[in-house]
Symmetry: C2
Subunit: 256 residues, 2 copies
């Protein structure tokens, strides 16, 4: 089995931050410096074009670790961050740039690329999860959540549809394609869905239809004014409280 | 000026509950038994056909008082609870019963009656607010919020559009008519909007359009599976946290 190889380690303000690779995929693991045996593990998927250390992921990771005692892991999506690009990645990026420059809709290109990335990323997340569970401080008892918007939702939704170890998930603000709706119909775990109300690139009706498609009995939609990828600060704590409700609070929270 | 006349008082588990009347309108005031000088005051509007002591209002009042130190006030809407019915009330109720028995849509009847009730209720709330602010334990410094769903939203929305003393409000799940959309366009205070996703009597698209119409820069929609008037328990605390964010937390919360 592929195992976690730690490559760097820093610690500040009670948060231990460790770079790692699993089967060549680079990631970051954030955990309480005081230890975190079997604490809930939240997997975080970044947005399209970015990487495992986006400001949004960093803020959430620090909040969830210090406020709730969770462990947080992020990996680079295929063709993103510190990873090499394939011919498919280059073609998709070129097509996006051309469409943007020509003022043409990018939706179809993003949807097709996201679907392809999800196909590549799902087995990578499963390998990473196997390896993370082999770490003594995580183990197989830690409840597992997933959090991601845009590309992170596309990947996470396909992952959640086939991966029973994930038992709660935050999604949101994604370009919807038919296979995503199909995946949502398979997802029965509790869902928190974050919808930016004024997204200039996504028709909110398609995201409302995606929320409607989830088979989950417990699903909550939070919509706030804001454009693509904008989320009010208080939603970070709302997300942590959602995980605490469904995965169990590990330590008494400083803020919730 | 009409003043608050207290008619009964009980106290249990740290909550002082006082019945009152203002200008003939009966109400209930819940406050911390330990005192509540200038704590945020939340006005609560009940749903159509019910009264000031619905289970939903009782649960919210107790939670907000004990967890956040808020003061909560509810009054009976015109023609509801302990209040006499006018010919208009009787006609509307008869029309509703006939439509239900005949399997005809009740939407138009409810919308027309709600609009009429709002017209009667807005000045009553303003009179009650004047009188409540004259109480030494409330005063004119207490920040004021409003919370109501269905009929409570119709009344509260028209109230918030004309009453600058209300600076944050929770609305939700209401039969939408044009004057309500017009009122929402006047409302600039922060809004939390609770939408039951599976309401059998309200087209969710009309409530989404109402949420969209609010002029507020800070507005959040929370949608959850459930039928008319069903709200998950955790939304009670989400509401309190919303008021704490915008009106100020009065005491450190036991749960947030």
């Amino acid at each position: 089995m592929d195992s976690v190889r730690f490559t760097a380690e820093t610690s500040s303000d009670g948060v231990l931050e460790r770079d790692f690779t699993v089967a060549g995929v680079p990631g970051v693991l954030w955990s309480p410096a005081s230890g975190s045996k079997s604490a809930p593990l939240i997997l975080m998927g970044h947005t399209g074009g970015l990487h495992k250390r986006t400001p949004g992921i960093m803020a959430r990771a620090r909040h969830h670790v210090t406020g709730y005692g969770f462990t947080v892991a992020a990996i680079d999506a295929p063709g993103h961050g510190d990873r090499p690009r394939t011919a498919q990645d280059d073609q998709a990026r070129d097509a996006l740039l051309r469409a943007r420059a020509a003022g043409e809709p990018i939706g179809p290109i993003v949807a097709e690329y996201n679907a392809a990335l999800a196909e590549r990323a799902v087995p990578e997340w499963q390998t990473a999860l196997d390896a993370l569970q082999a770490l003594p401080e995580i183990g197989t008892e830690a409840p597992i959540g997933y959090s991601g918007i845009t590309l992170g939702t596309a990947i996470g939704l396909h992952l959640a549809a086939v991966e029973p170890r994930i038992t709660a998930a935050t999604f949101g603000g994604v370009l919807v394609y038919e296979a995503l709706i199909e995946a949502a119909r398979q997802v029965t775990i509790p869902i928190l869905f974050l919808l930016p109300w004024d997204d200039e690139e996504i028709d909110r009706r398609s995201d409302l239809a995606l929320f409607d498609a989830f088979a989950a009995k417990e699903k909550t939609l939070h919509a706030n004014p804001g454009r693509h990828n904008q989320t009010p600060r208080f939603e970070v704590d709302d997300e942590a409280r959602f995980y605490a409700r469904h995965l169990g609070a590990h330590v008494s929270s400083s803020s919730g």
